[in-house]
């Protein structure tokens, strides 16, 4: 039995914005009366042109223009809002730091479809680009730690995968539009974040003055070399470390790397650049691309892989990979969903109802009393009825003062059983219980309406922010 759903990906970036629609095929591969539904195929049906993100004179996102753009693209793709059952809107690059971005995107997500969720944050952006580029899939097929560098206008977003699983995500102030140029070769903009690096390199680039090609090449080369050293786990100078936005774990040496993002369109065996090529977009993007090609194609230590997508990696990640399916035996009431932006409380001390209640109380106190929260756990302490009944009692007792839905997500396949016990013992409590979902403290989750007996869930991971 197969079913298809339509998913939208919308990427609002510092420089450019895009929309894609993809078709996800859900199949039940079970041969008995216990369903086992999985996403078996992801097909991109429509890719919008790459638009310049509409900005108002004050530099904020022009929400109305964005709305119009979205309407146009839905019409062009011949997609109706009500046909779109899932997907994600993501704010990427420097625009995520802009004040009105979140608001604009939340309005957009409501207009985009029922369960098209708003998501932001440099880590999530890295992760989605890594999925869209194909780094996660590669690491699942081959025994390699694979990083995807999504090099955009404002930032470079890195996600590291091993065995198909995310290992790390971080972002760097490296991008194609951090230095901008006019047609007469003069510099029109330099990102303030580059100042320490440029000073240390002794570059004399200045806004309003003509740029020397050699200096731009040197800067682009430095960007590439910093990324090369990150891949090889070689040390960075303090002014280079300053380009990290947040921090990543130290992972050691990487086996393979791929590139996505607008700049990656230039990471190939290209002829030497002349001014005409350089100035095509009025920025250093093409130069940065060429520099990365030189830095990575000339060394044998890290394998350079072709990415599946370049400028569209993030938007395809948002449209095709943001949504996960829960297990197929769960406890859900469609009348209670969709739920969006639910903070996750992770419980570890499940051994006794008393410990559980104490842990929950401490972690619950951080949030307002009326806030809906999600309880995340690995599974019951053991697999017997008594273990599960204890867990159910512990959860009910711990949450007895909460008026909201008792929303539990777990990794092990026990959701239907735990849900049954929670309903049976917690007379009248509203219960949602989902499994095969891994959510960490600090994550936010969105829960959609059930499709073919399984539940679409978006886990917005912020774990690498420290």
């Amino acid at each position: 039995m197969a079913q298809e759903i339509l998913s939208a990906g919308i990427d609002i970036g510092t420089t450019t914005s895009q929309v894609i629609f993809s078709r996800l095929r859900l199949e039940d591969n079970s041969y008995t009366a216990v369903p086992d539904v999985k996403i078996t195929q992801k097909e991109v049906l429509y890719k919008s042109p790459v638009y310049f993100t509409p900005l108002r004179d004050d530099g904020n996102i022009d929400a109305q223009a964005l709305d119009r753009l979205l309407l146009t693209e839905y019409a062009r793709a011949k997609v109706k809002r009500e046909d779109v059952s899932t997907g994600a809107v993501i704010i990427t690059g420097e625009s995520s730091r802009k004040q009105n971005a979140r608001l604009a995107v939340e309005e957009l997500s409501a207009a985009a479809g029922d369960f098209v969720v708003a998501a932001a944050g440099p880590d999530l952006e890295s992760v989605l680009a890594g999925y869209g580029a194909g780094a996660a899939d590669y690491s699942e097929k081959y025994p390699a730690t694979v990083a995807n560098f999504d090099i955009g206008g404002g930032t470079t977003n890195v996600a590291v995968f091993l065995g198909g699983e995310l290992q790390d995500a971080f972002a760097l102030d490296i991008g194609g539009r951090l230095v901008r140029l006019s047609a007469d070769h003069s510099v029109t903009y330099i990102s303030p974040r580059l100042k320490p690096l440029m000073a240390a390199m002794g570059l004399r680039l200045q806004v309003g003055r003509a740029a020397e090609l050699a200096e731009l090449v040197k800067l682009a080369g430095q960007f590439a070399d910093i990324c090369r050293r990150i891949c090889l786990d070689e040390p960075l100078e303090p002014w280079e470390r300053g380009l990290y936005i947040g921090h990543g774990k130290r992972l050691g040496k990487l086996n393979a790397v791929m590139f996505s993002g607008g700049v990656a369109e230039y990471i190939h065996d290209a002829p030497v650049m002349c001014w005409e090529d350089v100035l095509r977009y009025g920025d250093i993007g093409p130069l940065v691309g060429v520099a990365f090609w030189r830095a990575f194609s000339a060394q044998p230590q890290v394998k350079l892989l072709n990415s599946r997508e370049r400028i569209r990696a993030t938007v395809i990640g948002a449209g095709s990979y943001a949504v996960r399916l829960s297990g197929s035996t769960v406890m859900l009431d469609d009348a209670l969903v969709p739920l969006t932006n639910i903070p996750v409380i992770r419980l570890e001390h499940l051994e006794s109802p008393v410990a559980l209640k104490e842990e929950y109380r401490l972690k619950r106190d951080v949030y307002p009393q009326r806030q809906q929260v999600a309880i995340s756990l690995a599974g019951p302490a053991g697999s017997s009825y008594v273990d599960l009944a204890n867990l159910a009692d512990g959860l009910l007792r711990a949450t007895e003062n909460d008026a909201q839905i008792l929303l539990v997500v777990m990794e092990q396949d026990f959701a239907k059983a735990l849900g049954l016990l929670l309903k049976h013992r917690g007379k009248g409590r509203q219960v949602i219980c989902l499994d095969r979902i891994k959510a960490q403290p600090g994550d936010y989750i969105d829960v959609g309406r059930s499709v073919a007996g399984t539940v679409p869930v978006v886990v917005k991971t912020l774990i690498f922010k420290s």
């Binding site: 216990v34 697999s383 017997s384 959701a415 239907k416």
Partner: protein, 258 residues
């Protein structure tokens, strides 16, 4: 030799199968990941063009578990503890059970009369517990699946009949019991034919107004119930859900488009 030192390892332990026996693997991590996706004998290496000794011994140990499961009479301690009503088919011993599947589907007239005399009539849900081809499966899973099913049935307000344990039973005994007692939904827990992966796997067969006049396709089945397969608790919750579906749709098996 020190007495506490273990010289011979226990080949029947499940973790023996988790070991990678390939010499000089290109990527140990990759083989381990592959092995996690299945309990087939992957990554076992070879000695010439044959199995290595450890693999062969493990294979034979697993086969022995399957043999034991089929040929061992079920230990009824748990059945007695739970106070189930006990009957037996026409079969007299294990050998006859294996040779004469037809007799494992039938009760004597006396047994049928006793069932009618002693058990609750016209229940919403009738439970039948059958040893089938593995009594081990019943003893491993019964307690947990039974407890959660009872919670579920109570929650739904179903009238549950007298649980009946059938010794030397094939699946079709559920039809006879359903007919005798006029049950709406009959649910049979039965030990599966053991394979080389486990001897503890159980199936649940369910039918709406189960009848010996209906074809085998009347039955809805949940199989592969054991700790590493579908956990008995989760299977029990699914059975409760399916019971609701059967009650609502008033049909079961292939007639039910699920």
């Amino acid at each position: 030799m020190n007495e506490t030192e273990e010289f011979v390892s226990d080949i029947s332990l499940p973790e023996v199968k988790e070991r990678v026996l390939v010499e000089h693997p290109h990527s140990l991590a990759m083989i381990k990941r592959l092995k996690k996706t299945t309990n087939a004998r992957l990554g076992v290496g070879r000695a010439g063009d044959r199995y290595r000794t450890e693999t062969l011994l493990k294979f034979r140990a697993d086969h022995a578990i399957a043999q034991d499961a089929v040929w061992t009479d079920i230990d009824e301690t748990l059945i007695d503890e739970m106070g189930f009503y006990k009957v037996q088919t026409l079969v007299q011993n294990k050998e006859e059970y294996v040779r004469r599947p037809d007799r494992g589907r039938l009760f004597s007239a006396g047994t049928m009369a006793a069932i009618k005399r002693d058990c609750i009539h016209n229940p919403d849900v009738q439970l039948v517990i059958a040893d089938g081809l593995s009594g081990f499966a019943i003893n491993a899973n019964l307690k947990d699946i039974y407890a959660i099913m009872m919670d579920g049935f109570q929650e739904k307000g179903y009238r549950v009949g007298t649980p009946i344990f059938v010794r030397y039973s094939r699946v079709a005994t559920m039809d006879k019991i359903s007919e005798a007692l006029g049950a709406t939904v009959t649910i049979q827990l039965i030990g599966e034919r053991p394979g080389l992966a486990t001897g503890e796997s159980m199936s649940v067969y369910m039918a709406y107004e189960a009848s010996s006049k209906k074809p085998e396709s009347q039955r809805t089945v949940v199989s592969n119930i054991y700790e590493q397969g579908i956990p008995p608790l989760e299977a029990g919750a699914q059975v409760v859900h399916l019971t609701e579906v059967l009650m609502r749709e008033k049909k079961s098996g292939v007639d039910l488009k699920i």
